[in-house]
């Protein structure tokens, strides 16, 4: 992320609520507090029946994976781990597949999109 692209608000423009770092902190705290609450929603399933996707399999001995869904905090944990795994693997993928922006366009003799101005200067 090069800095010149993120110049910040133009001089003289009034700051917005989201421009204040302390408000971002407040939002972040509120968000993580809400996360903790949704995690604890699983307590409700002590009182209300949870409709598991693999209901019939859970009681069977080979239904270990299927029964995981009924564990306390399964969905919260799954969502969290999925994203961490996704991001870590994607960073690895980037090493494999990332190329410069002109990787395809440089195969052509004509100027790539956006370089017309430079060409005009030469002309």
């Amino acid at each position: 992320m090069s800095d010149h692209n993120h110049a910040g608000p133009p001089a003289g423009e009034a700051l917005r609520w989201l421009d204040h770092p302390e408000n971002i902190k407040r939002l972040t705290k509120g968000f993580f507090a809400l996360c903790a609450l949704t995690f604890l929603l699983d307590v409700a399933f002590f009182f209300v029946h949870k409709h598991n996707s693999f209901e019939s399999k859970i009681s069977e001995p080979e239904g270990l994976v299927q029964s995981a869904e009924s564990w306390f905090g399964f969905y919260s944990l799954y969502g969290f781990v999925a994203i961490v795994l996704l991001v870590v693997l994607s960073v690895g993928l980037r090493k494999l597949v990332m190329r410069p922006e002109d990787y395809y366009s440089r195969d052509y003799d004509e100027p790539a999109e956006g370089t017309d101005d430079q060409e005009a200067h030469h002309g």
């Binding site: 992320m1 090069s2 996707s53 799954y78 996704l86 994607s90 410069p100």
Partner: protein, 574 residues
């Protein structure tokens, strides 16, 4: 019964568009899909119609619940697209846009594979103009590659259908009625491949991530609505329950979400996202139970609207700033608050937040996977659902409208774009809040394996979905805070398209380059000569139109179609 075949109002009407002035054209642009919608609602389930053409009795209309769902969907998409495109001055884009929508309607009404093929080709020829629309060298090249994929698809369909139609007594129309097929012959595999290219099977998906981000705001919106969803319809009609689709769909759900994390161009992120969503549909069709099929086609309906909404919001950004690269954006909520709001509705809808559309559609596919005892598949779909939140739910709105302030203050989107986004937003919420009304449009009311009606809003479903999404979001924001989240980098990521664009294209250039060079020189000379003659004839110089090349591409498709039609006719005579 309606008075006109469902495709005709838009198809005939589109032919008038190039000849109307700007004002009148704007009126017609909105009136045509609206007329089409009223017309199609006049049909009753079970209506059929045939048309005799070159000695063949084509079944041009088969109006059942599945066809109705997609027919209505395409009219809504065309109407929203028309409103979104009102500011466009380009007659060509208006004309081909509406003709494109009409082709999609015609394709889903087709009762036999020959009729399907005719609309399939019309779909290819009309849609490529949406790719060409910006008129840049880049969009022309992307359009060429797009056309190559779709002509290949059309040829496969035609060869497959011809082979399938060959009986002991020569070609027979009744052998190619468009009904459920099984993958047990070369013919059906060819048809499967034709659908596969258009639906974006892995490796054959390259045209989606290539062409969609190359077009302009309105072009991308039209492209996103019709082609792939027509193919989803065809798979649901022809190959429901084919096990192959479960595995193909699972791959489609998975690989794009990794690319979406590292992609810089937000419209390309949405293109990957589209493959991921189609993956869910393909999985549903592969499972093949009534609940799974209902889920697949319901999700297709919801997807056209929410993905269209997301493409519209990014299109508005592109319209104002000329780019959708994450590295160039940020902080746009300050000057485009309404677009930001609509984008967030789209983001919530695709992420399957309760009260929004995907929550009531995608879940049917998940439940069907569990009912079929496909635990591994269910775990993959759940993983992909979390991934959707990451790239479409958070990344798109966050990097465009929030994140680091780019200092750019583009004007709010034009009024017509905001109206179009508002309509789609309302539809997303309506489907999400009143699923039982929406389900009435499906082939059958969704029921569980035990015969009871499917209800999206069970306590368990709402709670578990909220947990999944909240913690997926927590992981994203947590990694951003810890600076572990990959920053946007100006770059391209090579994908299967490298096979076509480097491998095949390189070979092509080496082998045929000299011939093409000679042809291109001749063409240059000719294109230079025409305007000079025009000076002599008309007294003024005609512009050297790049459009010639596009017409040439269209003419080639037309010629191939004619040749193949002649081939079939000869077979019939023999």
């Amino acid at each position: 019964m309606g008075s006109l075949h469902p495709a005709l109002p838009m198809l005939i009407g589109s032919l008038l568009l190039p000849f109307l002035g700007q004002r009148l054209r704007q009126v017609a642009l909105v009136a045509l899909p609206a007329w089409g919608l009223v017309n199609i609602l006049g049909f009753e389930l079970g209506d059929t119609a045939t048309w005799t053409f070159a000695g063949y009795e084509l079944q041009v209309l088969r109006y059942d619940a599945l066809a109705r769902l997609f027919g209505i969907l395409f009219h809504i998409a065309a109407l929203v697209g028309a409103i979104y495109a009102l500011h466009v001055k380009d007659r060509m884009q208006h004309f081909t846009g509406i003709a494109y929508a009409a082709s999609a309607v015609g394709a889903v009404m087709a009762g036999d594979l020959l009729t399907l093929f005719l609309f399939w080709e019309l779909l290819a020829v009309t849609s490529v103009f949406q790719v060409y629309a910006p008129g840049t060298a880049e969009s022309r090249r992307a359009g060429g590659r797009y056309l190559l994929a779709h002509i290949s698809s059309g040829l496969l369909l035609l060869f497959g259908a011809t082979l399938l139609g060959m009986g002991p007594n020569g070609f027979e129309m009744q052998r190619i009625a468009f009904e459920a097929m099984s993958l047990d012959s070369a013919a059906t595999w060819m048809i499967f491949g034709a659908f596969g290219i258009k639906v974006g099977f892995p490796i054959l998906h390259h045209w989606i991530v290539d062409a969609y981000p190359a077009s302009n705001a309105t072009g991308t919106l039209f492209l996103s609505a019709f082609t792939t969803k027509t193919a989803v319809y065809c798979l649901a009609r022809g190959f429901a329950g084919a096990d192959e689709l479960i595995y193909i769909g699972a791959v489609m759900c998975l690989f794009p979400i990794f690319y979406a994390v590292i992609e810089n161009d937000l419209r390309r992120v949405l293109s990957y996202s589209m493959i991921n969503q189609i993956g869910f549909m393909v999985v549903g069709i592969g499972i093949g139970t009534p609940l799974a099929i209902n889920g697949a086609v319901a999700h297709a309906f919801a997807d056209v609207i929410f993905k269209g909404l997301l493409f519209m919001s990014m299109g508005a950004v592109h319209h104002r700033l000329g780019t959708t690269k994450g590295t160039e954006l940020g902080g746009l909520y300050k000057s485009m608050p309404q677009t930001t709001f609509f984008c967030l509705i789209g983001a919530a809808s695709i992420s399957a937040v309760p009260m929004f559309s995907a929550f009531v559609t995608k879940s049917m596919i998940m439940v069907a996977a569990a009912e079929a005892d496909l635990t591994w598949l269910w775990l993959i779909l759940l993983f992909a659902s979390a991934g959707v939140l990451e790239h479409a739910g958070i990344k798109i709105p966050y990097f465009a409208f929030f994140a680091h302030d780019s200092g750019k203050r583009p004007k709010e989107a034009p009024l017509n774009m905001r109206v179009a986004m508002a309509i789609s937003s309302v539809l997303c919420v309506l489907i999400g809040c009143f699923p039982m009304v929406f389900y009435k449009l499906l082939p059958s009311m969704p029921t569980l394996a035990d015969g009871s009606a499917y209800h999206a809003y069970s306590f368990t479903h709402v709670v578990t979905q909220v947990q999944l999404l909240m913690f997926a979001a927590a992981a994203v924001f947590g990694m951003m805070l810890l600076k572990k989240y990959p920053a946007e980098v100006p770059s391209v990521n090579v994908d299967a398209d490298v096979l076509w664009r480097k491998g095949l294209a390189g070979l092509w250039r080496k082998l045929l380059g000299p011939i093409f060079q000679a042809a291109s020189n001749a063409e240059e000379a000719f294109l230079g000569w025409v305007p000079k003659q025009a000076v002599l004839v008309f007294g003024k110089r005609l512009p050297r139109m790049a459009i010639f090349q596009e017409w040439a591409a269209g003419a080639i498709v037309g010629m191939i179609t004619l040749m193949l039609a002649a081939y079939i006719a000869l077979q019939y005579l023999a």
